[in-house]
Each structure stands twice: as structure tokens, then as C-alpha cells.
Amino acid sequence: MIVRIGGFLAGLAFVSALLVAFLMPRDAAVVTAAHEFHREPKEISYSFDNPVWGKYDRQQLQRGFQVYKEVCSACHSMKLVAFRDLEEIGFTKPEVKAIAKQWSTEVPTINDKTGEPTTRKALPSDYFPSPFANETAARAGNNNALPPDLSTIAKSREGGAHYIHSLVTGYADQAGYKNEEGEELLKKFPDAKTPPGLHFNPYFANLNIAMPPPLAAEGQVTYADGTKATIDQMGTDVAAFLMWAAEPKLENRHRTGIAVFLFLLIATMLAYGSYQTIWRDKKH
């Protein structure tokens, strides 16, 4: 009885506090430009989209790597990927060795005679050297914005490769920009004008991104396999490469998963059979 009276009083306290909060008047919701003019990623299909059968397209990954190497790596590090990992996307050992050796940034080391800091050419066992020595240098070189490391970027953004493709190809002219409902951004939110030093991009969460459009012109890279390097093609390829960089074991995972699932399916059917057999003489 004491428990029930105590419980009843505690219940009244919680319920009353909540109902008072429920009835409190609310401030009018603030409508922001980001809320009204942010866009969902564009429709695009990748070979790795299917959660069960998806595979990477090696040619596409190699093209994407080329875009990363020639464009993104000028500002963005990729500290968790090593040159040796490139063998997984179809480069041969000598090719990997050459890529490491020709990398634009050298690897920091020390002179083994004097102990003075110096640099050396990268080896296949090295992780991709970062373009900036530290965060301060990176901010100093980028208008005080920090270019994020790209190792896990495709997994750390809602929408993954699809989002990245839209982001790098989705820069727009803010003047006269309209959303799907046909409302004009600067007419509705005159204060939302992109500040100097930032760039308007409707796919970015707050619409204004520090990164200048990375893919500015068709033919910015010359693909080794002869594919025409349109802006959309480069954006598609580099997003695929970043997905691989974030989830290099995806194909392994899918292959193992199918085998495990089939094994379990048979085992479960057998278990069901033995369950039915054992209970055959028993009503329940």
C-alpha cells in the first residue's frame, strides 16, 4: 500500500510537471534559410550502392584517386590510407612505388647523421603525407578554415558518396537562386547573403562553405583511361574513391556476408526441423 501511495504521488509530480510544460505557450518557430533552401543529395547510382551485392568499380576508383591526387590533396590530408593500400584498387606494385615516389608532399623525417628535421620521398609503406604540417599551418593557408581529413569523410556524412558528389558538383550562383518551391533565396532572406571568403552551396548544411569550388572546369584532370573528365564525372569518381577510402573492406564484407547468411539459413532450417521433430508427439 505504501508503495502504491508513494508511486501515485511520484506519478502525479512527474505527470503534472510534464502537463504544465506541455501547455506552456511556444515561441514562434524560427524559419532559417538553411532550413528552407538546403537540398537533398542528387540522384546518382553507384556500383557499391546495393547493400548485399554492391562492388567497387576499380576503373572508377583509379580515376577518383587521380582526382584526389591532383585536386583534393593540395589541401586535404588522408592520414589513414597508405600507398600500399592502392594495390587493392588495381594498381600494380611498381605503379604504387612510382606513385609514392612522385607524391607532391614528401615525408617528414630526420637526417640520420645530424638529427636535423628533413624530408624524404614517400615509400609504399607510408601513409599519404599531409599537405600541411599541422592544424595551424592548414588554417593559415585556408582563410582560417580547416580542410577536414578525408580518410573517413564518406562515412561521416549523412548520404555518404552521394552527398560528396552533390557537394563538389553543386556550387551555384546565389543571386537569383530558387528552391524547389520556386522561392528566391535572397528575396526571402536578404540577410542570408554569403559572406566574403565563403562560397554558396545548397547541399552544404548551412549553405555557405569555406571550400572554393574544387572542380572548376571540364578537363581539369586528364584521365589515364581516356574517360571524358566532365565536372560531374570527376565528382562522381572522387566520391567513389572517398567511399573506398572510408570503407576499404566493403567487398570482403559483402562476400563473407552472403556466405554466412546462406550457411545460417540452412542451419536455421535444420534447427527448425529438429524442433518440429522433437515436439511431434507433444501438443503445445
Binding site: 506519478g11 505527470v15 510537471a17 534447427a271 524442433y275
Partner: protein, 436 residues
């Protein structure tokens, strides 16, 4: 322990005889999960979930121990050590994804297990102790899962730790010193990460210990069943082995299929993308959201937005969130209806399903940002949650007319038909009396 007609362990093999007379461990296993434990014959699939929860714990311990061989609990390298498990350790991606999704499977199974107990009145006499120990296990699981989520030291790890440990600072006067003492600093950092790792490794073994007590307490009255009617005689039970080992084997197969589908085909579906960004104390994520299994409680925490009776809203939220779980400890004494199973309690049955819907809505609100209409819906559903346990359940039996209960489990099962072949009960009675 258990019923007088329970089969006795009789080792046939001389080696087992030798062991059993010196250390009766085989006898213990036989009586716990072997032919020596008589179980009601009418259990439905919802009774698979206790075994499945034990299985989930075992999976977490095994994958966790191997992961700990490769993980480094240091704020500078924790994130990269997890990434190196994903990239460089042989099958490391599998271990890590299995452990991540294994935690989700554990909670799915345990939530079904808890709601099964609520529906069939498994918390009522004489099984109150089983229920109390179960709530202790649930609390330990939540602590373990929270600390485990901090270990990869991503953005959600860090900010989740910041928010959850911040609860203690809501306590008047002692809050701030306790908060600093628990974290080993003013904000989560290396000291906090290290102690979380230590406790994350310890608590699963404490859970395993409490599970032993949970099963021990269960075996005194024996398992409840869908009718909620007590076992009357041998005809009402079957030996655990082979009947329920076979049924649990099938249940485990289905469990593993779902677990494999998550781990291999959608390993990040239940996680948050922000946790692939290394922890950064200087950059707060737009929405701090805990893992899905905490969403209903997170919704209750955030539902309290007004100071009420001189208690600040934040403290109300913290008290209510812990209270939402703590009230389960009192449930056996809040519910006075003598009928266990909701199948025979027409009003409670309705209340139960409203509660299920209410908790699902609370979960959705916990995941959503703190905007309208979510906040209002959250306040209403949180109020209903407390009203269910503290107001509705204690008085519902005053108005309820229970349906007539079957005289026995066997009667409920056979519904007037006769058992084909030799009656099982008579046979077992004969052999049991012969043994004595």
C-alpha cells in the same frame, strides 16, 4: 530446486561418475539447462529471448576481448586505433562491426524480453526477485553500452559522454564536484576515456554474475507461461532438454540471421555518421543524439522544460530519466491484480499495447531534434509513461473483470482433446516414483 518430478542426473559413463561425485558440476548443468529442469509445455516464441540475451552477452564478451587486444585507450590515438582495427587487423572490420551491432541485438532482445515479462506478468509473485535482478542487469547493460560508445572517441562519443556525465552536475551543491570526480577532470578527456575502458571491460562480467543469480532465482518457482497459471503437475511440463534446447536452437538461428544481416549488409545503419569524425572538444555537433536504445529515455530527459515546485527543469529531467527505470523495481508491488497473463486481463491488455506504442513514439522523439511538434509530443508521451506505471497499473484491477482462467496448463493446451498415445504425465510419474 524445482519440481519433485524433475529427472535426476545419473551419470552412465565412469568418468562422469567420478567427476560428479567430486564436483557435481555436470549435475548443476543438467538441473539448470538439461533434462533436470521441468518447464511449462506451452511457452511461445517470446520465451526464447532470455536465452538469446545470454547468447548476445557471450558474443559481446568474445568479440570485445579480441577487440581489446588491438584497441588503445588513449585520447590521442583511440580513434585511429579503431580505424586500424577496421583496416589492418585481420578480419578486424568483422569483429568491430559485430561488436557494434551485437550491442544493438542485445538491446533488441532484452527489450522484447522485458515487454514479454510485462505482458505475461512474469514480475509477479513468486518471481519478484527474478524481475528485480533483471532490472539490475538492464541498468548495468545501459552503463556498459554507454561507456563502450565512448571508446572510439568520435564526435558522438565525446559529446555523448559530455551530455550524460553532465547529468550529475544537475544535482544541487554536490553536483559539480561529483561530476569532476567521476570524469577525472572538468570535461571528458584521457582520464575519463581510460576509466570508461576499464569499466567497460569489467561490467560485462558483473552482468554475467547477475545473470547467474537471475537464473537461480528463476529456477526456484520455475518459468512462467503464457496462461500465467501455476504448474499443477508433471503433465504440465516438459524437460528443458531436448524440448526447449531444440526450440532455442531454432530461435538462435533466427537471431543470427538478423545479426548477420545487420553486421554484413547494414553495419552503420543504427550508428551515427558523426562518430566517424574524431572527437573535437571545440566543435559541437548540430544534434547530439545517443544510440537508438537510449532514445526513449533521452526523450523523457528532454521533456521537462519548466521549473516546477522549486526544482529546476534540468534536475526534473535527470530524476525522471532515472525514475523511468527505477520505477520498474516497484512494479511487483504496484500491480495488485492476482492474474498474471494479460490474455485474461482485458483492460490491462489494452494499457499494455498503449504503453508499447507510447515507448515507440518516445523513441522517435528522442531521435528527433528539440523542435515543435516533437517537444510537445514528447511531453505528452512521457507523461503517459509515468501515468501507466504509477497511476493506471496500480488501480486498473479495481475496475477490471478478469476472464476465467483455465484450470491448468494442460487443459489450456489440449482444449478438451486427449493426448495422443500414452499420456506423458503418467509415464513420468511412474518413473519418478520408481526412482525414489
Amino acid at each position: 530446486m524445482s519440481f519433485p518430478w524433475a529427472a535426476q542426473y545419473e551419470p552412465k559413463n565412469p568418468l562422469m561418475k567420478w567427476v560428479d561425485s567430486r564436483l557435481p558440476l555436470p549435475r548443476l548443468v543438467y538441473n539448470a539447462v538439461g533434462a533436470g529442469y521441468p518447464v511449462p509445455r506451452n511457452l511461445n516464441y517470446f520465451w526464447n529471448f532470455g536465452v538469446l540475451a545470454g547468447l548476445a552477452l557471450a558474443i559481446q564478451i568474445v568479440t570485445g576481448i579480441v577487440l581489446a587486444m588491438h584497441y588503445a585507450a588513449n585520447a590521442d590515438i583511440a580513434f585511429n586505433s579503431v580505424e586500424s582495427i577496421m583496416r589492418d587487423v585481420n578480419q578486424g572490420w568483422l569483429l568491430r562491426y559485430a561488436h557494434m551491432n551485437g550491442a544493438s541485438m542485445f538491446f533488441i532482445v532484452v527489450y522484447i524480453h522485458i515487454f514479454r515479462g510485462l505482458y505475461y506478468g512474469s514480475y509477479k509473485a513468486p518471481r519478484e526477485m527474478v524481475w528485480l535482478l533483471g532490472v539490475v542487469i538492464f541498468l548495468l547493460m545501459m552503463a556498459t553500452a554507454f561507456m563502450g560508445y565512448v571508446l572510439p572517441w568520435g564526435q558522438m562519443s565525446f559529446w555523448g559522454a559530455q551530455v550524460i556525465t553532465g547529468f550529475f552536475s544537475a544535482l544541487p551543491l554536490v553536483g559539480a564536484p561529483i561530476h569532476t570526480w567521476l570524469l577525472g577532470g572538468f570535461a571528458p578527456d584521457n582520464a575519463a576515456l581510460n576509466r570508461f575502458f576499464s569499466l567497460h571491460y569489467l561490467l560485462p562480467f558483473v552482468i554475467a554474475g547477475v545473470i547467474i543469480l537471475h537464473i537461480w532465482a528463476l529456477h526456484i518457482p520455475g518459468s512462467n507461461n503464457p496462461t500465467g497459471v501455476d504448474v499443477k503437475g508433471p503433465q504440465d511440463t516438459v524437460p528443458f532438454h531436448p524440448y526447449y534446447t531444440a526450440k532455442d536452437g531454432f530461435g538462435a538461428g533466427v537471431f543470427f540471421l538478423l545479426f548477420a544481416a545487420l553486421t554484413f549488409f547494414a553495419p552503420n545503419m543504427l550508428g551515427h555518421p558523426d562518430n566517424y569524425i574524431p572527437a573535437n572538444p571545440l566543435s559541437t555537433p548540430a544534434h547530439i543524439v545517443p544510440e537508438w536504445y537510449f532514445w526513449p529515455f533521452y526523450a523523457i530527459l528532454r521533456a521537462f522544460t519548466v521549473n516546477w515546485f522549486w526544482v529546476p527543469a534540468k534536475l526534473w529531467g535527470v530524476i525522471a530519466m532515472f525514475g523511468a527505470i527505477a520505477l520498474l523495481f516497484f512494479l511487483p508491488w504496484l500491480d495488485k491484480s492476482p492474474v498474471r497473463s494479460a490474455n485474461y486481463r482485458p483492460m490491462y491488455k489494452v494499457a499494455f499495447w498503449i504503453l508499447v506504442a507510447d515507448v515507440l513514439v518516445l523513441g522517435y522523439i528522442g531521435k528527433s531534434p528539440a523542435e515543435e511538434p516533437y517537444v510537445r509530443i514528447g511531453q505528452f508521451t512521457a507523461a503517459y509513461y509515468f501515468a501507466h506505471f504509477l497511476i493506471i497499473v496500480p488501480i486498473i484491477n479495481l475496475f477490471e473483470v478478469p476472464k476465467p482462467l483455465p484450470n491448468s496448463i494442460t487443459e489450456a493446451v489440449l482444449k478438451g482433446e486427449t493426448e495422443e498415445g500414452a499420456p506423458y504425465g503418467a509415464e513420468t510419474l511412474a518413473s519418478a516414483s520408481g526412482a525414489h
